[in-house]
């Protein structure tokens, strides 16, 4: 099997463990420490931010503009689709206008 397949299967096993693990571990405790709970609650925003910030840092005008529009549309409209479509539209438009 290729390395890629091994990466996928290892990722699948670990993902499955996170999906059964929380139930198995946390069901043994009656209470979760507030600090632990707050930390875990912050995991998605913290992880996903690290995937956006460097891309924004390395981006040009179209990329920065697209992300800015994405934030504004999220705040105004909510939901993933309006944000995603408008942000992508700004990106594609500006890349065509500011080519090279």
């Amino acid at each position: 099997m290729s390395t890629t397949v091994w990466i996928i299967l290892a990722g699948a096993v670990l993902t499955f463990l996170t999906r059964i693990g929380g139930h198995m571990v946390l069901s043994r405790f009656e209470r979760i420490h507030p600090r632990v709970e707050a930390g875990l609650n912050a995991v998605p925003a913290a992880v996903l931010t690290t995937l956006v910030a460097p891309a924004a840092m390395n981006g040009g005008i179209p990329e920065i503009a697209a992300l800015t529009v994405g934030v504004v549309v999220s705040l105004v409209a909510g939901g993933m689709m309006p944000m995603f479509l408008s942000s992508a539209a700004v990106l594609i438009l500006l890349r065509h206008l500011i080519s090279q």
């Binding site: 890629t4 999906r19 981006g59 942000s87 890349r95």
Partner: protein
């Protein structure tokens, strides 16, 4: 397969209701399922590998992270670790949803947890609140369309991805950061969201410049999580956070 599971359940109407509840989620997830397939091929995955990843991992954001890092020629164990880092939130989903499905059989529970993606978590919480219980039939009715369409979209996207002539002009190379930004924004009702985002952004950019990729992911994430943990008790003492 879907018919068998519906038959096994005492209340087939639950299964049908689950299917109806899944429709908006299936529609909303469709572009990302296709996008994943296209990006996977773009990052040198074969069509088979793209489909395998969607079928076995079944977690959009982590799959995107996986192929993104794969395209950057990062060490395999780091890619696996990054997938784990992105999916670590499922530990909380598991603990929370586990209370609704504790009455299922062991195999049913394993199958249910396997399909516990973000929208299934949200829908299950809603179902439990409105009906007081979550049946296996309803859960499978909601989860199976989501799962099957996700796998088929990876396949279709991977085939279509080969045909995209200029990914840069179409913005495909930057759709991932936009998608991740959308996910970040979707969590904005949570406590300490803004401080966590600012801290993780600053730490990840600094780490990207100094330590390098992909460590900026772990370093930035740990900084944000630690900040939330530190801030937590203050909130309990009286400051309102929501």
């Amino acid at each position: 397969m879907t018919a068998d599971i519906a038959k096994e359940n005492a209340r087939p109407r639950d299964f049908a209701q689950g299917v109806r509840d899944s429709v908006p989620v299936v529609v909303a997830a469709m572009p990302f399922g296709l996008l994943f397939g296209a990006l996977a091929v773009e990052n040198n995955f074969s069509v088979f590998e793209a489909v395998l990843m969607s079928a076995t991992i079944f977690a959009g954001a982590s799959q995107m992270v996986g192929i993104d890092l794969f395209g950057q020629k990062v060490a395999p164990w780091l890619i696996v670790l990054s997938i784990l880092a992105v999916n670590f939130r499922h530990v909380l989903y598991s603990a929370t949803t586990g209370r609704w499905i504790a009455h299922w059989g062991p195999v049913q529970r394993l199958l249910g947890f396997f399909m516990l993606v973000d929208p299934m978590f949200a829908e299950t919480e809603r179902r439990g609140e409105t009906h007081g219980t979550v049946s296996f039939g309803w859960y499978m009715g909601a989860a199976l369309p989501l799962y099957l369409s996700w796998v088929i979209e990876a396949w279709v996207g991977a085939l279509f991805g080969n045909l995209v002539p200029d990914p840069h002009a179409l913005g495909i190379d930057f759709l991932l950061p936009i998608y991740f930004l959308g996910l970040v924004m979707s969590f904005r009702k949570r406590s300490f969201w803004l401080p966590v985002v600012l801290m993780s952004a600053a730490a990840s950019m600094l780490a990207y410049r100094t330590v390098g990729s992909p460590w900026h992911v772990s370093i930035g994430a740990i900084a944000g999580v630690a900040l939330a943990a530190i801030m937590a008790p203050d909130a309990r003492k009286g400051r309102k956070t929501r």
